[in-house]
């Protein structure tokens, strides 16, 4: 008992200050991609061709990146002859709509808070049921991490619960395998309305690395209506937490926030 107390004392306080203060991310962290089309060689499609999920399209002097498909790998950066594309350290990337994930040079329209009625219901207490459906368990791992003392999800009133009947919504990961379609639908139906759905990771948004495989449905939207899209493969825990807190009006208060200056 004494040893446990001593160990507890040495452990100290480990919860990060988030959302106050800048989070510590590794220098090689790959966040929001940034493109400078003025550096693109004429007619060059190297990034688009290298992209494993065809998340990039080019044309008319523009380069569009679909964050919903992006695996945040280095293929486009490595392939670019003009140094025109790179990852920034921006981890705040969740949106309320699928369309907002299509980056075409403008600022990212980050997730705004839920509508007033939903916010009144869920703003201070949100219970989620997690459904994992045709992914690789990396998203699940970094969702689970939110329950550790480091992120301490509970302090925001957000909790994962063991039954859809106890839940206000679903957090879905995976490309939605055909083998999980029915289970996802039934779980969604079992959540009492009003309810929300959060899609975490490239798989749940677009199918991710499995996009267009006949075994999957290319993401959660094929089965349930999605209220929050959190891109990444997998998203950093902070990207997920930031998205949830924006949805609950705890960050950003719904105003349109601009990406950091170049």
């Amino acid at each position: 008992m004494l040893r446990a107390l001593l160990a507890r004392l040495r452990q100290g306080h480990r919860t990060i200050a988030f959302p106050d203060g800048a989070p510590a991310l590794p220098d090689r962290f790959r966040g929001l991609p940034e493109v400078d089309p003025s550096r693109c060689p004429l007619e060059c499609r190297a990034c688009a061709e290298a992209c494993p999920t065809n998340a990039i399209s080019t044309g008319a002097g523009r380069v569009a990146v679909d964050l919903g498909r992006c695996l945040f790998c280095t293929e486009c950066v490595d392939a670019c002859p003009g140094d025109a594309i790179h990852h920034t350290s921006e981890y705040r990337m969740a949106t309320r709509s699928r369309e907002a994930l299509l980056l075409e040079g403008g600022p990212l329209d980050r997730a705004r808070a839920l509508e007033e009625r939903a916010l009144r219901l869920f703003g201070r207490s949100l219970k989620l049921r997690q459904v994992s459906a045709g992914g690789c368990n990396a998203c699940e791992a970094d969702v689970n991490v939110l329950n550790t003392v480091v992120f301490d999800l509970g302090r925001f009133g957000v909790q994962f619960v063991a039954s859809p009947r106890h839940a206000d919504g679903l957090l879905v990961t995976g490309a939605i395998s055909r083998n999980m379609e029915l289970a996802l639908r039934k779980t969604w139906e079992a959540v009492p309305p009003p309810k929300i759905v959060i899609a975490v990771g490239a798989c749940a948004i677009s199918g991710g690395p499995y996009v267009d495989h006949p075994e999957v449905l290319n993401g959660a939207s094929a089965v349930v209506p999605v209220d929050l899209f959190v891109p990444g493969c997998p998203p950093h825990p902070l990207t997920i937490l930031d998205g949830i807190l924006r949805l609950l009006g705890r960050i950003g208060s719904g105003e349109r926030t601009l990406p950091p200056p170049r």
């Binding site: 507890r8 090689r28 992914g135 368990n137 990396a138 063991a162 083998n179 495989h213």
Partner: protein, 485 residues
Amino acid sequence: MTGARDIRNGEALALEEVPVVGFEEFRRPLLEGGSRLAALFGRRLEGRTRLLAVSARAETGSLVVAATDVGERYPALTPELPEAHLFEREIFEQTGARPEGHPWLKPVRFPSGGAGTADFFRVEGEEVHEVAVGPVHAGVIEPGHFRFQCHGEEVHHLEISLGYQHRGVERALRGGPDKRTIHLVETLAGDTTIGHASAACAVLEALSGTRAPARAHALRAVALELERIANHAGDLGALANDVGYLPSASFCGRLRGDFLNLTALLCGSRFGRGLVRPGGVGFDVEAERARDALSRLEGALEDLARAVALLWETPSVLSRFEEAGRVSREAAEEMGLVGVAARACGLERDVRQEFPWGMYRFSQVPISVAGTGDVLARAQVRWLEIQRSAAFVRDHLRRLPAGPVRAAVGGLAPHRLAVSLVEGWRGEICHVAITDGAGRFASYKVVDPSFHNWTGLALAMRGQPISDFPLCNKSFNLSYCGFDL
């Protein structure tokens, strides 16, 4: 000339050198003992199914490859070779060749949908009841279905039915390599990104005749051991959580993240995405970065040692770990268990020692074993491995070989076969690739350690109270997606 060809781990050979023998000649060596089945799969060829077996023979450090052709049905190997039972179900599901006499021939992954809709083994009698759990589980966990046959609290039989994570990875790898290949292997099991990517790169390098530089091999091995440390640390915490001992649960949960962040320090991704690449690694580690990683490693290890020591010092924890979910050494051997689950039963199985590849050819990691085959033994093996992996990481980060980190990879040679084994944190990962006439993958077989080990969990639950299922399950911590592919 015998009916098989020996190769080393990470070696390729011409397809014509793999002898296609009669069924008896194929079957006999598999039953002889002294080897374990690393892979057994079927390929549809015109009007027949070609079975290909890779057995791992520890004594000689060689992989024995043999093939045979069968028609619509063939005599099952399983009655005499129980470790073949899932492989043969898979062959039936994928090719239609029926292993006659297989004791429990049913789908493995339900590739055409309807996962879980099959007959389950049932115990009947008064007061016997059935408990069905999943595919959606109570926590943030992958989907799977568990069917328990219980008498009161006691579990007589557990049947595990998977396939819910099936997303067609093996099928999609055929026709490659292409721009998606490495991303598909990195996500075979996301928590084993380094393990599976290492196995795939060894296959690609063998088939293309590429030699990855020494510095790349060292960095791959460092990353593989970091992956092991992070996952084992998380599992020890999860075990503490499942017996309600919250101090270690909370400390280890945090520390697992610290170890994942070490991998992120190397490559930007907590899971090692982008690090292991065909021909080498995608990121170099400068001296300053290595020093930073080392000092952070020491800090986290110190805290981990304290968190884990609490487990061994707390009688209420030990009394829950001891005797829970016991698997005998004989059963482990018979069912072909690998990794932590096998070593906890006293089986000295570890690819790093038996079939060393890459850096492990020059630098050895002792095999960590325990004898009791219970939850405690699986926890002890994890802690031993953490310490030995840490020593390895320390050693190699201090003296990384000089030179480049990546070599160019050319096209793959046509009509060849390559096998690669890697000791991932769960156990033996096996990749087998066969190229066609154009140097594309005609077949790509993946065997995740979980494919061998789920049956171990089912056996561990026999005679246990059903309330111990979470604890036993966590002590194996197997992959659903790695199994389902």
